[in-house]
């Protein structure tokens, strides 16, 4: 394979359309659709005594109002997406609540009308009488279990899991030094710029349901709708068109609207759409990050960790549709790049009266990283050692791979690091960070982290060379800005020896590729990227077979270069890939595009049937990649900050990143992912939080009060790479999507702690929190 495109900073093929305003996001699609709104519970916990929709139904322009009683699936619990034996008390909501609501924002009724404004007018007339119930809002309160979120879930505990490697208690008892830490992470939100949206049309004469959905997993949505409506999957088309950022919550399914909109479209005989507004997005869309950790560490005089015990509570929210993946990831990633010979982790996944949680970029890892790095900083302070040196002494060494941590991973297997060079990351980062700036109230922070990327089960791809010589490629997973179309075109272009501009990638459209899982967990490049490579190689092999017959050459002697298949070393002995595509499909009727060359009276080079036995027509192939395990990316971040001791304003003076995602397909894209991830990390560490009050009301459900950083809050970020190729996949790549966000909280906590001289044990921070820490006795 030539490597003309792989690794090059190829400019994006997606841009032109998006820059001209010709992107196609779900809400851009109208086609005469009715619009809709969900009536949501204002209470965090309440019994529904009655719902009266008669006034809403009477509003001119209203097409329908649905409650649970009006739905054939109204009494069915939505699925638990990822069941787990430890999830003893998994609970999911129903599409529309009719008995009890368990978080403010839970859907109760659905109004369909000629316009969103009319639907909102009518929604105000839906009369729901609630009997408020006691609210459980923090994970600590939930664990205390004085009040229950679900009557039938004892102790509010959905799941409990304990894992141990080595023998922790004796190791702790024997350790020369011991330290306990109490660490806390509040809830945060992904807040993509595009809120969620669904558009659906039922075609009676085709018996076909077409759904546009801003989802991260159209293939799963399709499967679910087919089951729900009793249709063969071939009668359901789900398309995730351009998606305006996802960052995790759009992998959650099924949000109520994802069932209600298709149902209404089928019932009403008209396209129906629903577009979430920003206010409802804050409570209707899954959240993450709430955890409370009790850590105990034993270490020696050198600062080496001998034993680590962590007992944490994970805030599940009101339901557990996503299973217990988040706490499993946290538990699996706490040791990170460090050797922890004796490790015990126990978690309880507890219900609270807040929006359910599911992965948000980082997904359990920022907390894990925060726990380990705060622990190492504590060791450094305790022993009077340099923080860098403590990390140096604990890092897993390059000759220890594959390295088995010994605890469970999110794919049902064990955490096994496939490759990496953590000391190199650390030294390169420290060199990049350079000397400490002059001045007072300056702090340095750093963090080394790992990230299990590219989980299974699999992704697939279809690659076809058209008779024009252009290439089309498709995969089931969608894109929300990760530049998939560019990087996959690079992979395919290299295999087929064509220009990137001649490869058109379609993603997230079940009409083009019906199989696959979704885009999440930094897995797109690893899974779909390798599937693209597999399919393209199959096409290249086929092209060699076909061309070999016509060129009277050995397929092994042929190469694909510059859009031609030719004999290595003699480029004139060859044929265009377009011509091979024609020959790949023997035709009776020439239909233009050069296809006369494949008709029956044209000389064939070989006797026998026109289509050789075992061969399929067309220069195309479908390939799959199913990873044997996660490819473990890693990185190191470090920063200098200054904190104003009077206003507690944070100034990030320098921020550096060294990143290892194996072989880099496109450095522009990877750096963009990192810069964006770090910015989200800074937001999550110092600006953004979801502020619930005791009644379970989210008090900052707007961009006025949920403080996502503007350009003014984000410093320049210096980025460098090392490359330790993953041995687990043909391309040697590891995922990069979430990396940027993971260590930022740990880095800023360490730096701010040093700058202000106050211990930092929680995330996120704010000037107010720093003021209180600085002035508390």
């Amino acid at each position: 394979m030539t490597t003309r495109w792989f690794g090059a900073p190829v400019q994006r093929v997606e841009d032109d359309r998006l820059l001209r305003g010709l992107g196609r996001f779900t809400d851009d699609i109208d086609d005469g659709a009715l619009e809709s709104v969900l009536v949501r519970s204002p209470y965090a916990h309440a019994r529904i005594l009655s719902i009266d929709v008669s006034a809403a139904r009477a509003v001119p322009g209203v097409a329908a109002v649905y409650t649970a009683a009006d739905l054939p699936f109204g009494g069915t619990d939505l699925p638990i997406l990822i069941p787990h034996p430890n999830l003893k008390h998994g609970r999911t909501q129903r599409c529309l609540a009719s008995e009890v609501v368990r978080y403010a924002g839970e859907a109760v009724a659905f109004v369909v009308a000629e316009s969103r404004a009319i639907a909102e007018d009518a929604a105000e007339l839906v009369e729901v009488i609630y009997e408020p119930l006691p609210v459980v809002i923090t994970p600590e309160l939930a664990a205390r279990a004085e009040r229950l979120v679900h009557d039938d879930v004892p102790g509010n505990v959905a799941a409990e899991m304990t894992q141990e490697v080595g023998d922790v208690d004796p190791a702790l008892a024997a350790a020369p030094h011991r330290k306990a830490l109490h660490l806390r992470f509040e809830r945060g939100a992904a807040a993509p710029m595009e809120c969620r949206a669904v558009w659906a049309r039922w075609s009676d004469h085709e018996r076909k349901l077409t759904v546009y959905d801003s989802t991260q997993s159209p293939t799963s949505i399709r499967g679910g709708l087919a089951v729900l409506f009793g249709l063969p999957e071939s009668s359901v088309e789900v398309i995730a068109p351009d998606v305006g950022g996802g960052f995790g919550p759009k992998i959650m399914l099924f949000y109520p609207d994802e069932l209600l909109v298709p149902h209404a479209a089928m019932q009403l005989g008209r396209p129906v759409k629903w577009t979430e507004d920003r206010q409802e997005h804050f409570t209707a869309v899954n959240q993450e990050r709430g955890q409370v950790h009790e850590v105990e560490v034993g270490f020696d005089d050198e600062g080496k960790v001998l034993a680590l015990s962590d007992d944490f509570i994970h805030d599940a929210g009101a339901y557990t549709p996503y299973g217990i993946i988040l706490p499993i990831i946290t538990a699996g990633q706490i040791p990170g790049p460090y050797r922890v010979p004796n490790y015990r982790v126990r978690f309880r996944d507890v219900y609270t009266n807040a929006t359910p949680t599911s992965p948000y970029r980082g997904a359990g890892r920022p907390h894990a990283c925060f726990v380990m790095e705060r622990t190492l900083d504590t060791i450094a302070i305790e022993l009077g050692l340099d923080r860098v040196e403590v990390r140096r002494r604990n890092l897993i060494q390059p000759d220890q791979f594959p390295y088995e941590v010994g605890v469970a991973w999110q794919d049902g297997k064990k955490v096994i690091y496939d490759s990496g060079n953590y000391p190199a990351l650390l030294e390169k980062t420290i060199a990049m960070l350079g000397p400490r700036p002059a001045g007072e109230h300056i702090g340095m922070g750093l963090s080394v982290y790992v990230e299990g990327t590219g989980v299974g089960p699999y992704e697939g791809a279809h690659v076809q060379v058209l008779v024009s010589g252009k290439v089309v490629a498709a995969t089931g997973i969608p894109s929300q800005g990760q530049s998939h179309a560019t990087v996959w075109a690079q992979v395919v272009a290299d295999e087929l020896g064509v220009d990137v501009a001649d490869v058109e990638v379609t993603s997230g459209d079940t009409r083009r590729f019906p199989w696959g899982v979704g885009t999440f967990a930094s897995r797109g490049a690893v899974t779909a990227g390798n599937a693209m490579g597999v399919a393209a190689r199959m096409v290249a092999d086929k092209a060699r077979r076909i061309a070999a017959e016509h060129l009277e050459a050995d397929p092994a002697d042929l190469e694909l270069v510059d859009g031609r298949v030719s004999v290595k070393g003699s480029p004139t002995r060859g044929m265009p890939l377009a011509a091979v595509s024609v020959l790949a499909n023997p035709v009776r009727y020439a239909f233009g595009g050069g296809t006369e060359a494949a008709t029956q009276f044209t000389a064939r080079p070989r006797p026998g049937p026109p289509l050789p036995e075992g061969e399929q027509p067309g220069l195309e192939a479908t390939g799959y990649y199913s990873p044997p395990g996660s490819a473990w990316a890693s990185g190191c971040h470090a920063a200098y900050v200054r904190v104003d001791p009077k206003t507690f304003r944070l100034e990030i003076l320098k921020y550096v990143v060294v990143h290892d995602c194996g072989r880099v397909i496109n450095p522009l894209v990877v750096e963009g992912q990192i810069e964006g991830g770090v910015a989200q990390g800074i937001g999550g560490a110092f600006y953004e939080r979801l502020a619930y009050d005791d009644e379970g009301q989210l008090r900052n459900a707007s961009f006025m009060e949920f403080l996502m950083p503007y350009a003014t809050e984000i410093p320049p970020i210096a980025i460098d790479h090392i490359e330790t190729p993953s041995p687990l996949n043909p391309l040697g790549i590891k995922g990069a999507g979430e990396a940027g966000v993971i260590p930022v909280g740990a880095v800023l906590a360490s730096a701010i702690e040093e700058a202000l001289g106050v211990p930092i044990t929680e995330m996120p921070l704010s000037p107010l929190k720093l003021f209180e820490l600085s002035t508390s006795p």
């Binding site: 909102e120 707007s702 000037p767 002035t775």
Partner: protein, 250 residues
């Protein structure tokens, strides 16, 4: 998040606008819309009538009078920010403008609209107060002048009657040195606390239901700020002391 129903009126003159405000029940003036339209979209404001003054001719002047700057009702904040006349006569107003939201908001937002909206954390009401400025209001009953010290009566409440329109704000030139300093979470946000100094007059914002005058020697005397997600009462008092010190040194 779509506005509730309302009746829309677009008067062409101040007189028509005042006639509408005088005759309609529950009418709101729509000027720049940068505060009102979000409230409409959230359905937090539900006026029966909107009186859009944007089609009123000749109401967007920024001019010098009585040793100060007069800013008419439709003068956009960006125009005030860019005005060399304002920079020369009342540079405090130019400085303050940089702290008001973001440029694209200032392109549409009006100075008089900010004063009428009277958000306690907003900069311009405090500037008017520090400078002892005034607004001129008009109604079918006539015209009157309201001093800044009487204009702001509560959280988002003013002494402007429902039938009155602020047609002009007057910002006297500061006597001596001046400063405006605020602490906000992000660039362009409303202030957690802010101070405006014009000569020896000190006005605070973000720390009381209205902008308030304060004693430069003891700026927090009598102050009981409310707390919210980003600042407790104590933090606001602390910031007032810190910012006052900076403002006095500036």
């Amino acid at each position: 998040m779509k506005p509730p129903k309302f009746e829309y009126h677009a008067p062409a003159t101040v007189e028509e606008a005042c006639a509408l405000l005088g005759s309609l029940e529950d009418a709101k003036v729509l000027a720049g819309g940068q505060s009102l339209v979000p409230l409409l979209n959230f359905r937090l404001a539900r006026p029966q009538h909107l009186v859009d003054i944007n089609r009123v001719e000749g109401l967007d002047r920024i001019y010098e009078r009585d040793a100060g700057i007069a800013v008419q009702a439709l003068a956009r904040q960006a125009a005030v920010e860019d005005s060399s006349l304002v920079a020369r006569v009342c540079p405090l107003l130019s400085d303050a403008m940089q702290l008001v939201a973001h440029r694209v908001i200032r392109n549409r937002g009006t100075v008089c609209g900010s004063l009428a909206h009277a958000d306690p954390a907003s900069e311009l009401p405090a500037v008017l107060l520090a400078l002892a400025g005034q607004v001129v209001v008009r109604s079918t009953r006539g015209q009157r002048v309201i001093g800044a010290d009487r204009l702001f009566t509560g959280v988002m409440e003013t002494a402007v009657a429902p039938d009155e329109l602020i047609v002009e704000a007057w910002f006297p030139a500061p006597a001596g040195s001046f400063a405006i300093i605020e602490e906000s979470r992000r660039h362009g946000d409303f202030a957690l606390a802010g101070v405006v100094r014009a000569g020896q007059r000190l006005a605070l914002f973000g720390v009381a239901p209205t902008p308030v005058l304060a004693d430069p020697v003891d700026p927090t005397r009598g102050l009981r700020p409310s707390g919210d997600l980003e600042a407790t009462s104590e933090f606001r008092l602390h910031l007032v002391r810190v910012l006052t010190e900076k403002a006095l040194a500036a």
